[in-house]
């Protein structure tokens, strides 16, 4: 099995978001592997262990992302590739990133591609299905289980709480939903080994892509924080008074019931 994982480096979920001049402040923030991509890495490793082959983790991003790639290698991935576009591209959107990834992957002859179903920063969930379409590959999103039998996959997917079981042929791209597995923590020997595993850096010219071909189609006008919520009222009195007051307030003041 030739297995690939699409990985994104994101803000830690613990981080509050701060803006300065309309830009998200990254100074001092903790970064992590996008949590949904962690499930993807784990599943890729498990499938390789069961079926043989190799796991390559791919990201598009600056040098900082090497840390997250090393973490994936320490978990057990075999190789990592970082495609660096920041010197060539000013504005990147989903069109940009998906074309970069698809152009690289076209030459790789992947049997299975794993990704997270959404990144917790941008929150669009576009890149993975776009990559599948650009590769003319079948895809299944938000999966919670995956069985491979020869060249056929049986995939269980979460659809807003319902469960679908789908049969589809490889090659296949899938995106991970929570519940797919329990991602492992890198072990100490894993971390030591990861330092020696190959981490390749590529630029646009290495994959024969011109910046004109990957221009963004969406433009950001501004970013802003939501209005801060004022702390509300803590009700008082004995419990039955509080409960009837609450119902009264929801009906007459908040008018939501």
């Amino acid at each position: 099995m030739n297995i690939f994982v699409l990985l994104k480096r994101t803000f830690d979920t613990e981080e509050a978001i701060q803006l300065e001049n309309g830009e998200i402040q990254e100074d001092g923030a903790e970064f992590i592997i996008n949590p949904y991509d962690e499930y993807a890495v784990e599943e890729a490793i498990q499938k390789r262990d069961a079926l043989g082959g190799e796991v390559t983790v791919v990201t598009v991003g600056p040098e900082d992302a090497d840390k997250e790639l090393r973490t994936a290698l320490a978990m057990g991935a075999d190789k990592a590739v970082r495609i660096s576009i920041e010197d060539d591209v000013e504005d990147a959107d989903h069109v940009t990133i998906s074309k970069v990834l698809a152009t690289y992957l076209k030459e790789q002859d992947a049997d299975l591609i794993f990704a997270g179903n959404v990144a917790i920063d941008g929150g669009s969930g576009q890149v993975a299905p776009r990559v599948a379409e650009l590769l003319d590959m079948n895809y299944v999103t938000t999966i919670t289980a995956l069985e491979i039998d020869g060249t056929t996959a049986t995939v269980t997917r979460d659809v807003e709480g319902d469960t679908e079981v789908i049969e589809v042929a490889l090659p296949l791209l899938v995106t991970a939903q929570q519940g797919l597995n329990e991602p492992r923590y890198p072990s100490l020997p894993g971390i030591m080994k990861a330092k020696k595993k190959p981490l390749e850096e590529l630029e646009l010219m290495d994959i024969d892509l011109d910046e004109d071909e990957i221009e963004a189609k969406i433009e950001t006008i501004e970013r802003f924080l939501p209005e801060e919520k004022k702390a509300g009222r803590i009700l008082e009195g004995d419990m039955s008074t509080q409960v009837s007051e609450l119902v009264q307030l929801l009906r007459t003041e908040a008018k939501v019931i």
């Binding site: 929150g123 669009s124 776009r130 802003f224 409960v243 908040a254």
Partner: protein, 321 residues
């Protein structure tokens, strides 16, 4: 400008987000065509007209009973070719999230996902969408592609229904090749009929719910209010409920009219998923719980006392009104 809106049916009925998608398109253009796809969906066309679509395209095939990106992709690619719309609108639902990026990639178009509001009209319209699960927002616009966007349920109001509105219903010719993906089985979860993303009322439980059984009083309240049950990561990790119910930065981001948080401490990851709800009620034993900092109304008390009392109180009022 011509807009194409993909309507979505669930168990034979149109989803509210489809009417909201028509309303979103109508904000930008008058020329709105709705598309409905399935095995028996002809009967839904009139209703789409009554919510603002001037034309409805109906595509029926037994093989389209279940959504697959392959089946819907084939149909929509052909319809987009026939109609050459300037704008394509879908709900940001499981289906919309799955199919929209595929179509956008094929069209080499930008796609703005999860829109919560639209400002301006025509090509210059600006779209507001949450980032970092609602910890921040961004305003974006299209540079030069088809205006292709998905809207978050429950944020853009549907138009008032015009009963008996005239609508032109068409059944365009579409060729469907054998499907590469087969849906073998669909299991509906018994978590009530209301979808979490579309629910107007959500009753959510955290670690304080203590067990799977502990969700029962929450389910009763949710059912009475026509809402859905959600959960914090703590409750899911402790196996009190399924991950499908999880609300937060991992999990679902929801914006109901009323969010009742029961036994939820209010970790920043959870707040990201729900703090944009219109009204938040917090019920927690711990008066210091962080959830109270975002709540409009708070009751300090044991959820196992408060929630059943609340259900009773609502029942009295709902019977009287």
């Amino acid at each position: 400008m011509r807009a194409l809106v993909l309507a979505e049916a669930r168990e034979g009925a149109l989803r509210n987000v489809s009417f909201e998608a028509i309303a979103a398109a109508k904000q930008l253009t008058d020329d709105v065509t709705a598309v409905v796809i399935g095995d028996h969906v002809q009967s839904l066309a009139q209703e789409l007209g009554e919510y603002g679509a001037s034309r409805v395209l109906v595509v029926e095939d037994d093989r389209l009973k279940h959504y697959t990106p392959d089946g819907y992709g084939q149909v929509l690619r052909q319809l987009i070719e026939q109609e050459s719309p300037d704008m394509i609108v879908l709900g940001h639902t499981a289906l919309g999230k799955d199919i929209a990026p595929k179509l956008a990639a094929r069209l080499d178009a930008g796609l703005i996902s999860d829109v919560v509001s639209i400002e301006g009209t025509g090509r210059d319209a600006e779209f507001v969408r949450p980032i970092y699960s609602g910890k921040a927002f961004e305003k974006v616009k299209f540079k030069d592609s088809v205006m292709f966007f998905t809207i978050r349920p429950n944020n853009i109001d549907a138009l008032a229904r015009q009963a008996g509105a005239s609508v032109s219903v068409e059944t365009p010719a579409v060729e469907l090749k054998d499907l590469a993906m087969i849906v073998k089985e669909v299991v509906r979860k018994a978590t009530g009929k209301v979808d979490l993303a579309e629910a107007k009322v959500i009753v959510a439980g955290g670690r304080g719910v203590k067990s799977e059984d502990g969700f029962k009083p929450l389910e009763e309240l949710a059912e009475l209010l026509g809402g859905a049950v959600g959960a914090s990561r703590g409750a899911c990790d402790a196996d009190y409920c399924d991950y499908a119910l999880q609300i937060g930065q991992t999990g679902k981001v929801v914006t109901p009219d009323l969010y009742i948080a029961c036994g939820i401490s209010g970790a920043i990851q959870h707040l990201a998923g729900m703090s944009n709800a219109k009204v938040i009620v917090a019920i927690n034993k711990d008066p210091e719980a962080n959830i109270f900092s975002v709540a409009d109304y708070g009751i300090v008390g044991d959820l196992f006392d408060v929630v059943p009392m609340l259900t009773e109180e609502f029942r009295k009022h709902l019977v009287n009104s």
